[in-house]
């Protein structure tokens, strides 16, 4: 039940949302479409769902050409950022909706809905209205609703974007565990790289309507295809014209091969780690060192140090996915 997008193009007026985008999402995987706002990832998701019609390109779902199919017939489960709860229906009726449309017998519906509500821990709330639920609960209901009709793929559009930080973290783990149990091909859109790295098997980085890189979280972090991916997925700083991860910088008391002279402008202790702000030839940079190192080296403001990247990053050998 994989998903394939071939050469998808979509513009809104003069704004190009997707520029010849192709992705291949393996069956049963949990994939993140990651990128900045307005980059095209939601558009791609909606094209896959059939909620947007592309100007060019093809969509295949489970090996079938789905490009001409309406959203009703694609067998996709879709979860919206703002839940799209049916406000006038109870939680039970919301989850049952897809099954009622398909005219399933009442007891079958009741059984399936109860199962799903237990799965998402909302069985106590079956008779409540969505307005009586919290945001996190509404989203769990939306997930149950989408799963009820046994979709071939699950598509989630910034599912946790409208929730606050604590709930977001909880639901992230919960989504991962759910996927481990249910194994439906799942694609979710997010602009939060931490979320993508924590949850997804594979990440597709999309920016300005183009795919920047595809790969596992560690691949994208350690071997980014370009500056954009590097900067988006983790902290970066510039040393000697190169983009480097602050925790990949060696701070030395004496000059060594390949090191540059720098002045410590500020030291901030953040729990276990220490952030060292530097000035190198008038340019600002920063390095992340451990407390142990900071104290053993006696780092202090105003001091002169020498810095160099621990391993050269540059551009990796892997091509963009």
């Amino acid at each position: 039940m994989g998903i394939r997008a071939h050469n998808v193009c979509k513009s809104f007026g003069s704004f190009v949302a997707l520029d010849n985008v192709s992705v291949d999402i393996p069956s049963g995987s949990l994939t993140a479409l990651l990128g900045p706002s307005g980059g095209g990832k939601s558009t791609l998701l909606r094209v896959i769902a059939g909620l947007e019609v592309p100007d060019h390109g093809r969509i295949e779902i489970a090996g079938e050409d789905a490009t001409a199919l309406s959203p009703q017939s694609r067998g996709v489960g879709f979860v919206f950022q703002h839940y799209a709860a049916f406000k006038h229906l109870s939680v039970f009726r919301n989850v049952a909706f897809g099954l009622e449309i398909r005219k399933r017998p009442k007891d079958e519906i009741a059984k399936r809905v109860r199962e799903l509500l237990e799965l998402v821990h909302l069985d106590q709330f079956a008779d409540r209205l969505p307005s009586q639920l919290s945001g996190g609960q509404r989203q769990r209901m939306a997930l149950a609703r989408a799963l009820a009709v046994e979709p071939r793929v699950m598509l989630l559009d910034e599912p946790f974007g409208a929730l606050d930080a604590k709930v977001r973290k909880e639901l992230r783990e919960w989504l991962r565990r759910l996927h481990d149990e249910v194994h439906v091909t799942t694609v979710f859109v997010t602009h939060d790289q931490e979320e993508a790295m924590e949850v997804a098997d594979e990440i597709v980085v999309i920016n300005n309507g183009l795919v920047e890189q595809v790969g596992r979280p560690d691949q994208l972090y350690d071997r980014p295809a370009n500056d954009f991916v590097m900067g988006f997925l983790g902290p970066v700083t510039r040393i000697g014209g190169q983009m480097v991860r602050p925790h990949d910088i060696e701070v030395l008391r004496t000059p060594e091969d390949g090191s540059l002279r720098a002045t410590v402008t500020r030291i901030v202790r953040l729990g276990f780690e220490v952030r060292v702000d530097l000035s190198i030839d008038g340019e600002d940079a920063w390095a992340q060192v451990t407390r142990a190192q900071a104290s053993s080296d006696n780092l202090a403001e105003g001091e002169t140090v020498w810095v160099r990247p621990i391993r050269p990053t540059g551009h990796p050998l892997h091509a963009v996915g």
């Binding site: 909620l51 947007e52 309406s70």
Partner: protein
């Protein structure tokens, strides 16, 4: 997103054309039947001109009174709390719900020849104005009420903390924020007042040159088969109404900018 709106637009346009557009176009065409000269003559004929003058004049007066009293009523409904408030709230919609001819009858019985109060406004221009005040009452009230209710009370608190007394606060803080809503209500009042027919028929006695409003005049012209004349005066009313609609649109944009 599936089929486009084409069919729907087509049907809507067809329906609108049959019911609204073509008939209105027919009025303007008929008005111009005798050319620009004929149109002008029909509109400036003594009775027609008098009716138009009365109508426009009365509408202006009524709009002004509506602005003052409408704002006042809205203020009292929003800011004041008293027993029977809900009843008054419901009452404001009476002119929307009551047929205009019944409104006319009702006013005539209190302020006409058989008035128990001794006030006799039948066959007078004051009677016409009163009828128009009745039917236009809700407009300013209903446009101002929600804006007044949404007004940030902290603005007035800030003004008070800066030394502004009640009148000053009203004049400089509240009123300017109500202005778009008041103007919109006034425009609606005006448009309604120039078109009004039913409520004026009884109390005005329909005296040409004295209490005959434009709509009544047009009616008379239709009945006496001077359809072209009726169409001419109708066209004037239509043009004025259109101008008011444009003004309303501009006012709503002005109001939106201030929100």
């Amino acid at each position: 997103m599936g089929r486009g709106p084409g069919l729907g637009v087509g049907v809507a346009t067809l329906w609108l054309s049959l019911v609204v557009l073509i008939p209105l176009a027919a009025v303007t065409l008929r008005a111009g039947e005798n050319g620009w000269g004929g149109f002008w003559a029909a509109v400036t004929a003594p009775e027609a001109a008098s009716a138009l003058r009365l109508t426009l004049g009365a509408a202006v007066v009524v709009s002004i009174v509506d602005v003052v009293f409408g704002t006042l009523v809205a203020w009292v409904l929003v800011r004041d709390h008293f027993r029977g408030e809900r009843v008054v709230e419901v009452l404001i919609d009476l002119p929307f719900a009551l047929p205009t001819i019944v409104a006319g009858l009702v006013l005539l019985s209190l302020y006409g020849a058989t008035s128990p109060l001794g006030i006799h406004l039948a066959y007078t221009r004051a009677g016409v104005v009163m009828a128009l005040l009745f039917v236009t009452l809700p407009f300013v009230v209903r446009t101002v009420q929600p804006v007044l209710a949404e007004l940030d009370p902290e603005m007035e608190d800030a003004a008070a903390s800066l030394g502004a007394g009640r009148i000053t606060t009203f004049r400089r803080i509240v009123l300017p924020n109500l202005l778009p809503a008041i103007s919109a209500g006034a425009a609606l009042s005006f448009a309604r007042a120039i078109s009004e027919f039913g409520s004026t028929v009884l109390i005005s006695g329909n005296l040409p040159f004295k209490t005959q409003v434009a709509a009544v005049h047009i009616f008379g012209q239709i009945e006496t088969d001077n359809v072209t004349g009726a169409a001419a005066v109708s066209t004037v009313l239509l043009v004025v109404a259109l101008l008011v609609l444009v003004a309303l649109d501009l006012l709503s944009r002005w109001g939106a900018k201030r929100a």
